[in-house]
C-alpha cells in the first residue's frame, strides 16, 4: 500500500480529507439556514443573498482566494477578529484551506438543500402547525425528515468540492507541504518536479475515484427526493 504513494502524498490525501470534512461540517448548518431562508423566506434582499451565495461559483477562484486573504489574513479585519475571539488563525494554516474549501463548496451545498426544501410541500408544514406544532417542531418532525436526502446530497457535493479545491486555496494559504498542501496542490507540485508525473497520475486517479463516489452518492440521494416528491 505504502508503495502506491509516497509519505508526502499520503499526507496530502489525509490533509484533503481533513480539510473537506471540517469545511463540510462547519458550513452545513449555515448552508441549511441560508437554503431554508431562500426556500421559505419572503423578504427584501432575498435575491441579493442568492447572488452573494452563488458568487464563488462564477468568480475566478483566484479572486475568491484574494478576497479571503484580504479579509481573513493575519492583518485582515475578520482574521484579527477570529484570532482575538477564538485564537483561530486561518492564514497559511490548514484551517485556511478548510475555510477556502467551505466557501467554494457553499453554493453547491445551498443549491442542493434549497431544491430539496422546495420539494417539501409547505401544505404539510401548515397542517403540522394547525396540529399545535411550533416552528421548531415543524422543522424537526416534518421539514427535515422529508428533506434529509437533499441535505445529505448537498453535504456530499460540498465535501467533494472541498477535496478538489485549488485556486482559492493556493491563493489564500499558499502551498506548504504538510500544512496546506492538499491533494490538488500536491498534484500541481508533482507536475513541476522532474519524474513526478507517475505519482501525480496516481493521485489524480485517487481524486477521480473520490469525486465519482461522491457524485454517485449525491445522485442516489437526489433520486430519493424526487421519489418522495412524486408520492
Amino acid at each position: 500500500m505504502n508503495e502506491l504513494l509516497g509519505p508526502a502524498e499520503w499526507a496530502a490525501l489525509w490533509l484533503s480529507l481533513k480539510v473537506a470534512f471540517w469545511a463540510t461540517l462547519c458550513s452545513l448548518p449555515i448552508g441549511f439556514g441560508v437554503a431554508y431562508v431562500l426556500a421559505r423566506g419572503r423578504f427584501v434582499g432575498r435575491q441579493a443573498l442568492n447572488v452573494l451565495v452563488h458568487l464563488p461559483l462564477v468568480m475566478p477562484p483566484v479572486v475568491t482566494g484574494y478576497l479571503l486573504l484580504l479579509g481573513f489574513g493575519r492583518t485582515g479585519p475578520l482574521g484579527e477578529l477570529f484570532e482575538n475571539l477564538f485564537g483561530l488563525v486561518f492564514a497559511f494554516r490548514w484551517t485556511g484551506a478548510a475555510l477556502a474549501a467551505a466557501i467554494m463548496g457553499f453554493p453547491l451545498m445551498v443549491r442542493a438543500i434549497r431544491l430539496s426544501l422546495e420539494a417539501v410541500d409547505s401544505g404539510l408544514e401548515e397542517a403540522a402547525s394547525t396540529l399545535g406544532a411550533s416552528r421548531f417542531k415543524v422543522l424537526r418532525t416534518v421539514t427535515l425528515p422529508l428533506a434529509w436526502p437533499g441535505i445529505l446530497a448537498g453535504a456530499v457535493l460540498g465535501f467533494a468540492k472541498g477535496m478538489g479545491e485549488f485556486g482559492a486555496t493556493v491563493t489564500f494559504v499558499s502551498n506548504i507541504p504538510g500544512q496546506t498542501q492538499t491533494l490538488a496542490l500536491s498534484i500541481d507540485t508533482l507536475l513541476d518536479v522532474p519524474g513526478g508525473e507517475p505519482l501525480a497520475l496516481r493521485l489524480a486517479i485517487v481524486s477521480i475515484l473520490i469525486a465519482a463516489v461522491a457524485l454517485i452518492i449525491s445522485e442516489v440521494l437526489a433520486q430519493r427526493v424526487s421519489k418522495a416528491r412524486a408520492r
Binding site: 410541500d121 401544505g123 404539510l124 401548515e126 397542517a127 403540522a128 402547525s129 394547525t130 396540529l131 399545535g132 406544532a133 411550533s134 416552528r135 418532525t141 416534518v142 425528515p145 422529508l146 418522495a228 408520492r231
Partner: protein
C-alpha cells in the same frame, strides 16, 4: 360561539366577511373563487390579513400563531405526513380520545399503513381523526369530500354526521355542494365575491326567496326536518315533516329517527286546485308567504306549509297566469323522485 371578522385585499378581489357561528356545523357556501377557503385559512391563522378578528368562546385568537389556536383543520387534500404511519399521523397533535376517535372513524385496521397506500376516503377519515385527536376547540373543514367520488363520499358522510351529533364545538364546513351542506349544517353563511350575502339558520336561509339568486337556480330549495315513519315495501320511505307527510325514494334512516329532506325549488309544481289522477305522490296544502321576482324569467315563491316553509321557483308567465298573490291558499306538488336520496340524511 365563534365570531369572525376578516378583511383582506387580493389582486382585484376584496374579502370582507363577518359572521357568528354557534356550536354545530356552520356551512360556508359559495361558488369557486368566492373566498370560502381564504376565510377558514384566516380563522386558522394561516392567511395574513389586514383585519382578522377571531373570537372563540370569549377568547381572542386574533394575535395567536396557528399552533396556539387549538383549531383542527381538515384540508381538502388531507395532507397526511407521507413519512409517518397512520398511527403516527393520528398522534401528531395529541392522543385526545384516541380509542373513541379510532372506533368512530373506523381506523383500527389502518393504523400501521403508510398514507400512500390509503384510498381517498380513508385519507380523509385519517385527516379528520388526526384533527380530532389534537383536542380542537374549533374544527375547520375545507371541502373534505370534494376530492372523493360518490361512493367514497357516501362512506365518509356518516362519520361527519356522527361527529356533528357528538361534539359541542363549532365546526366551519366549507363546501360548494348544496346537497352536502343541507344534510350536515345547522347554519349557513353564503359568500359571493368575498362578501357575505346571506347568513343565519339553515332552514330560514334556504326558504328565503331572496336567496335564490345567490344560491343559483339549481341549488335553491328549502330543507324540511322530519321523523321517519316507516319504510314501504315498494322502496319508499315516509317522513312526517312540519309540512305534512312526504314520501321519498329509498330506504332512508331508521324508523323514528330524525332526517332532513332537501326539496329543490325547481322541482315543486304549484296548483290552484287539489290535483287528482296525478303520478306525483306528495301534494301539500300551502299558503303563499312571499313572491320574489328575479331578473330572469323566474319567480321565487315562499310557501308556508304547516309550521315549515318551502321554496318554489316557477316562471313569471305561470305566476301571472295563475295570478298568484301573497296569502293565496294553493297546493305544492312534489315528485318523490325529485328528492335525491343523497339529499336525505
Amino acid at each position: 360561539m365563534l365570531s369572525v371578522d376578516i378583511a383582506k385585499t387580493f389582486d382585484g378581489f376584496t374579502l370582507d366577511v363577518a359572521f357568528d357561528a354557534p356550536a354545530g356545523i356552520t356551512a360556508i357556501f359559495g361558488p369557486s373563487g368566492s373566498g370560502k377557503t381564504s376565510v377558514i385559512r384566516a380563522v386558522a391563522g394561516l392567511l395574513p390579513c389586514e383585519r382578522a378578528q377571531v373570537t372563540l368562546s370569549g377568547v381572542e385568537l386574533t394575535h395567536l400563531r396557528p399552533c396556539m389556536r387549538k383549531v383542527g383543520y381538515v384540508f381538502q387534500d388531507a395532507r397526511l405526513f407521507p413519512h409517518m404511519t397512520v398511527q403516527k399521523n393520528l398522534r401528531y397533535g395529541g392522543s385526545h380520545d384516541e380509542e373513541a376517535v379510532i372506533a368512530v372513524l373506523g381506523l383500527s385496521a389502518l393504523l400501521d399503513r403508510s398514507p400512500a397506500t390509503l384510498s381517498g376516503g380513508e385519507r380523509q377519515r385519517v385527516a379528520l381523526g388526526r384533527a380530532l385527536m389534537s383536542a380542537p376547540e374549533l374544527l375547520l373543514m375545507d371541502e373534505p369530500l370534494s376530492a372523493l367520488d360518490a361512493p367514497r363520499k357516501a362512506e365518509v358522510l356518516p362519520y361527519i354526521e356522527a361527529l356533528r351529533d357528538q361534539t359541542s364545538i363549532p365546526i366551519l364546513y366549507v363546501s360548494h355542494d348544496m346537497g352536502e351542506v343541507a344534510r350536515l349544517a345547522r347554519n349557513i353563511v353564503v359568500l359571493n365575491k368575498g362578501q357575505v350575502v346571506l347568513s343565519g339558520d339553515m332552514e330560514d336561509v334556504l326558504s328565503d326567496p331572496a336567496a335564490v339568486p345567490f344560491l343559483g337556480v339549481r341549488d335553491a330549495g328549502a330543507v324540511l326536518t322530519g321523523r321517519v315513519v316507516g319504510h314501504a315495501d315498494d322502496g319508499l320511505t315516509k317522513i312526517e315533516t312540519g309540512a305534512g307527510a312526504v314520501w321519498v325514494p329509498g330506504a332512508v334512516g331508521r324508523a323514528g329517527g330524525t332526517v332532513r329532506v332537501r326539496v329543490p325549488a325547481q322541482d315543486i309544481i304549484l296548483s290552484r286546485t287539489q290535483p287528482e289522477g296525478l303520478s306525483a305522490l306528495n301534494v301539500l296544502p300551502v299558503t303563499i308567504a312571499a313572491l320574489e321576482r328575479g331578473g330572469g324569467p323566474g319567480v321565487a315563491v315562499a310557501l308556508q306549509a304547516g309550521d315549515s316553509r318551502l321554496l318554489a321557483r316557477v316562471t313569471k308567465r305561470s305566476c301571472d297566469g295563475m295570478a298568484l298573490q301573497k296569502g293565496d291558499r294553493i297546493f305544492a306538488i312534489l315528485k318523490a323522485t325529485a328528492i335525491a336520496s343523497t339529499d336525505v340524511g
